[in-house]
């Protein structure tokens, strides 16, 4: 029997998800032994035409990480969707938009101008910018164009499963691969992680008193954080209560609050709105004048509450940006 074909691909991402695959360490050998890798640009040299030559549905499963923000990524997502029986959105960027999704607070023109003109480290007197098509020595090379909007994978193509995390842990990855290889699959559309919030697994949970009222939000880089106590009890914004469990509580383990990379539980449509609701409701004070100084401790609500999930949020992006 031929071994099932597997593809890995990356779109707008940092490469960390690829690292996770490598982090499977010797376990990867077992996987490699069972599958036939047909695409993995970070490790092996495949070309588009290799992929195009495959029949539709010939790939058993594709793990795609990264958000979709360019025409090339979009067309690859569509191509891989067509060639694959299962498409897995791998990691926070493909799942929720991830860190690249924070670009949805700005317009494409703002970003290009910043990156190619105004950023302090840029020297570009000609204000040259990448062009979709250029004419050089009689050749017409094409470059991918950047989209106006950063998207999650499932905003571009149909996705079968989601592996959350920035990056997903090796354990979740192994479990997912095992489930796929065994054919023991959950319903389509599932997020392959527990559906409970992180506190459930957090060793600091027991240290949270029942009556936490916020009078001040303290920012983690300005205070020495207690290594045992619940961050919220210390007045530090922690997204654990609004974030799926399954990461192994790594950030709190490293004495940093959760920033929400696993995304919300299935019962929540908008992770940022929910943590805002919870933190806000528990602020002390009864008048706008009393409440406001406390809330000023969260200077960037979008960046804080939607660090990984802005493209997947209900509003998706800053709504008043004209397209240029």
């Amino acid at each position: 029997m031929p071994r099932p074909k597997v593809a890995f691909y990356w779109c707008a991402s940092c490469g960390g998800c690829e690292e996770t695959v490598v982090d499977l360490a010797e376990d990867i050998l077992g996987v490699v032994a069972q599958v036939d890798i047909v695409l993995w640009p970070v490790a092996l040299d495949f070309k588009y035409h290799h992929l195009e030559a495959l029949a539709d549905g010939e790939i058993a499963v594709t793990f795609l990480n990264g958000a979709i923000r360019s025409t090339e990524q979009e067309s690859m997502a569509q191509l891989l969707r067509r060639k694959s029986q299962l498409l897995v959105a791998y990691g926070a960027c493909a799942h929720l938009g991830g860190i690249p999704g924070l670009a949805n607070q700005f317009g494409r023109e703002d970003i290009l101008r910043s990156n190619y003109e105004t950023a302090p480290t840029v020297v570009n007197e000609g204000k040259t910018r990448p062009q979709a098509v250029t004419e050089i020595n009689g050749y017409r090379p094409h470059l991918p164009e950047q989209h106006q909007v950063v998207r999650t994978l499932d905003q571009v193509v149909d996705v079968d499963y989601f592996l959350p995390g920035c990056p997903p842990t090796p354990e979740l990855t192994k479990a997912a691969v095992a489930a796929i290889l065994s054919g023991n699959l959950p319903p389509k559309g599932s997020v392959l992680a527990p559906d409970t919030a992180l506190c459930e697994a957090c060793p600091r949970r027991a240290t949270k008193p029942a009556d936490v009222k916020f009078t001040e939000f303290r920012r983690p880089h300005r205070h020495l954080l207690d290594p045992q106590q619940c961050f919220l009890a210390q007045g530090v914004v922690c997204l654990g209560p609004a974030t799926r469990s399954g990461c192994g509580v790594q950030c709190p383990g490293g004495n940093m609050p959760c920033t929400g990379c696993f995304g919300p539980t299935s019962r929540v449509r908008d992770q940022g709105a929910k943590i805002l609701s919870s933190l806000g409701a528990n602020v002390a004070g009864r008048t706008a004048e009393e409440i406001e100084p406390t809330l000023r401790g969260i200077p960037d609500p979008v960046g804080t509450f939607y660090r990984y999930a802005l493209p997947a949020s209900l509003l998706r992006r800053r709504v008043d940006i004209p397209h240029a």
Binding site: D56, T71, S75, Q78, L79, R81, R82, Q105, H147, Q148, D154, Q155, V156, V157, D158, E171, A179, P186, P187, G189, S190, V191, A193, P194, D195, T196, G246, P264, S266, V268, R269, D270, G272, A273, K274, L276, S277, L279, G280, A281, R286, T287, A288, I291, E292, L295, D300, P301, V302, F305, A312, S313, L314, L315, R317, R318, V319, D320, I321, H323
Partner: protein
């Protein structure tokens, strides 16, 4: 009514307001406005909740995303909440939400929190009329339309690539949470 010979011109745009009114004060005040036959703009659609404390910010975002031009939240006056202090909890969320909405390009006038007691039918009328006027001046928010505009770039590309099987994204498509939880073993 006679069917017009020509299809009528599209009626002028008027804002759509979704209102979340607490059962005890503002919803009752809206009933009082009705009983008193006060007249106000038909642009508001009221959802009754037991308390303004029940207004989940997700409801507000959902309303905007579905096409509301403004969202009005009505609760009891401070100190008067039927549930002691649910309205304070809404107030506490509200400042943060307004700031976040501003960062996402939604001006504060589109989302309004008002304390209206059961006796203030007049105030229901005044607030709705005032908000309608303000939104009229701001113009449509039209997020469904914006979503469709944004996603046109996807559809265009699909056309040029002639990938006939490419999935047409839905105009208002966003990430929907999956329904089932999976515990990895």
């Amino acid at each position: 009514m006679n069917a017009p010979a020509q299809p009528p011109a599209a009626p002028p745009w008027t804002p759509r307001i979704v209102a979340f009114f607490c059962n005890w004060c503002t919803y009752t005040a809206a009933d009082l406005a009705g009983v008193s036959r006060l007249k106000y703009a038909p642009n508001v659609r009221v959802i009754r909740l037991m308390c303004s404390g029940r207004v989940d910010p997700q409801f507000i975002l959902e309303a905007l995303r579905r096409g509301a031009d403004g969202v009005l939240i009505g609760g009891c006056h401070p100190g008067d909440c039927h549930y002691v202090e649910g309205n304070y909890k809404m107030l506490r969320r509200f400042g943060l939400l307004q700031r976040m909405l501003a960062d996402l390009g939604i001006p504060p006038a589109r989302v309004r929190l008002e304390w209206i007691s059961a006796a203030e039918g007049e105030r229901v009328k005044a607030v709705i009329n005032d908000m309608t006027r303000q939104l009229q001046a701001l113009g449509p928010l039209d997020l469904p339309g914006k979503f469709a505009d944004w996603d046109a770039e996807i559809a265009d590309l699909a056309a040029t690539l002639q990938t006939e099987s490419a999935k047409e994204p839905e105009a208002t498509h966003t990430w929907e949470p999956p329904k089932v939880l999976v515990q990895p073993q």
